[in-house]
């Protein structure tokens, strides 16, 4: 028997849907606690932020392992971050507010923590629609500039997270540390090696 994974990309693609299935399971079995809507909201936001962190981690991993060809995974994880962020947004609009636009409007205007969520979402949205290879080709150098905004998105997402909390800041702080670490790595690597920039170019574009 050959247990080697024949198509690792397909397996990864499927595995990234596990958090969603898990969530459906918890909804079905009423496992989300006393405030299930908030729990759903936090879970989806969490996964979006986690995928954003994984996306940011690809380049440092690629640099350290000298393994090329991870750009496709980076794209996939980035799109999953967008996917979970979209579900997070839809949960807010539909499940939490039942599309009561007057309540939603007031809530957004009066809640600075939501402004950061909106910024993060629009950036991730822009990155998602410009993620296909043909768009990348057409955009040339400006593609890379645009996609550096992922750091803005991740910082905005973390502020969005911890600004709505009254007390427990441990989790958002953990994300903040991870993002600072990943950003720091990029800055250091950028200063010390131009190799990195070469390796950022996906396979088949060299």
């Amino acid at each position: 028997m050959n247990f080697q994974i024949k198509n690792p990309k397909l397996v990864t693609l499927a595995a990234c849907l596990i958090p969603l299935l898990w969530l459906f399971f918890d909804i079905a079995f009423d496992n989300l606690g006393s405030n299930p809507i908030q729990a759903l909201h936090i879970r989806l936001g969490d996964w979006s932020l986690r995928f954003l962190c994984v996306t940011l981690a690809i380049t440092p991993i690629q640099t350290m392992t000298k393994w090329r060809g991870m750009a496709d995974y980076r794209q996939m994880f980035g799109l999953y971050s967008f996917f979970y962020a979209t579900l997070h947004l839809l949960t807010y609009l539909a499940i939490d507010n039942n599309f009561e636009w007057s309540l939603i409007g007031t809530d957004i205007i009066e809640s600075p923590y939501i402004w950061f969520g909106v910024v993060a979402y629009w950036v991730v949205f822009a990155l998602a629609i410009t993620s296909p290879k043909w768009v990348m080709k057409r955009m040339g150098k400006s593609w890379k500039k645009l996609h550096r905004l992922i750091y803005i998105a991740s910082m905005a997402a973390v502020i969005h997270y911890f600004w709505q909390l009254k007390g427990n800041l441990a989790e958002p702080l953990l994300y903040l540390i991870i993002i600072f670490f990943l950003l720091g790595f990029r800055v250091l690597a950028g200063l010390t090696s131009r190799q990195l920039n070469k390796m950022m170019i996906p396979k088949g574009h060299e």
Binding site: S34, P36, I37, F99, L103, A170
Partner: protein, 317 residues
Amino acid sequence: MIIKTHKDIPSSEITDEKVFNERRTLIKAMLATAAGASIPTAWANNAKPNAWNVAKSDLSNAALTPTPIELVKNYTNYYEFTLNKEDSTKLAQNFIADPWSLEISGEVEKAGTYHLEDILQQQTLEERIYRFRCVEAWSMVVPWVGFSLANLLKLAKPLSTAHFVKFTTIQQPETMPNQRNKVMLEWPYVEGLRIDEAMHPLTMLAVGMYGDTLPKQNGAPLRLVVPWKYGFKSIKAIVKIELLKNPPLTTWNKSAPAEYGFYANVNPAVSHPRWSQNSERQLGSGFFTSRRQTELFNGYGEQVASLYQDMDLRHFF
């Protein structure tokens, strides 16, 4: 299609049948209890909870249906134990709520320390269904059991110099991990009211909920409930009530003065600096139900608005 329910009876507030039946049993048990004060011993570990013979107060919101008890018992902000609202249930079980005594001191004629049992013997317990609105923009409807704070304060005979009331939670670091490790806030927790707020009949000291003694995580054995203010004003596990000339420095106000005011009146028009207070999520309401429009003074404006006449509620938030 969006089906809008009638404003007065949102579907989310209709109690499910199981909870309703449980309540019926409880009420029957309460009626079966002989009239007179039956002092509960349920705070002792593993004791079987006693049901109370309590009448519904006129101050109760008759139109409100209580939130299912399981939700109320498992969603508490009790930072002395944990910052997690669902973990406090388990962590609070080691808390020692019996025996309990309460100190009343400061600007009063009759200062003293009293056993909780003795206090309860002088008070008529009643059930009051109040809406409880957290500053975190969620709310629930709780049938508290207790009495007006004014009834207790009157016994201590406040002096004319008593302008404020300060409440202090017990310092019990051996059972409260965050007191022990000095996490998050300055302990013990302190809250305060203006004397007219404290003497208002709606302001109550609760010793129970849902016809039973207070669960430990909900503030046993004695907590404050001020229904027109954000939940953090309703301090839990009170051991000291002091009447003061000057306003006390309260815990959240001290921790983040720009975010949590001394008054903390529920007010949809005054946002928290980081989030809107315009609407609230009602615990127990299902998916795809709209949030509830928050009411000024949490719907108790008719009774309490006069306390704040000529006050700029934006400034005194």
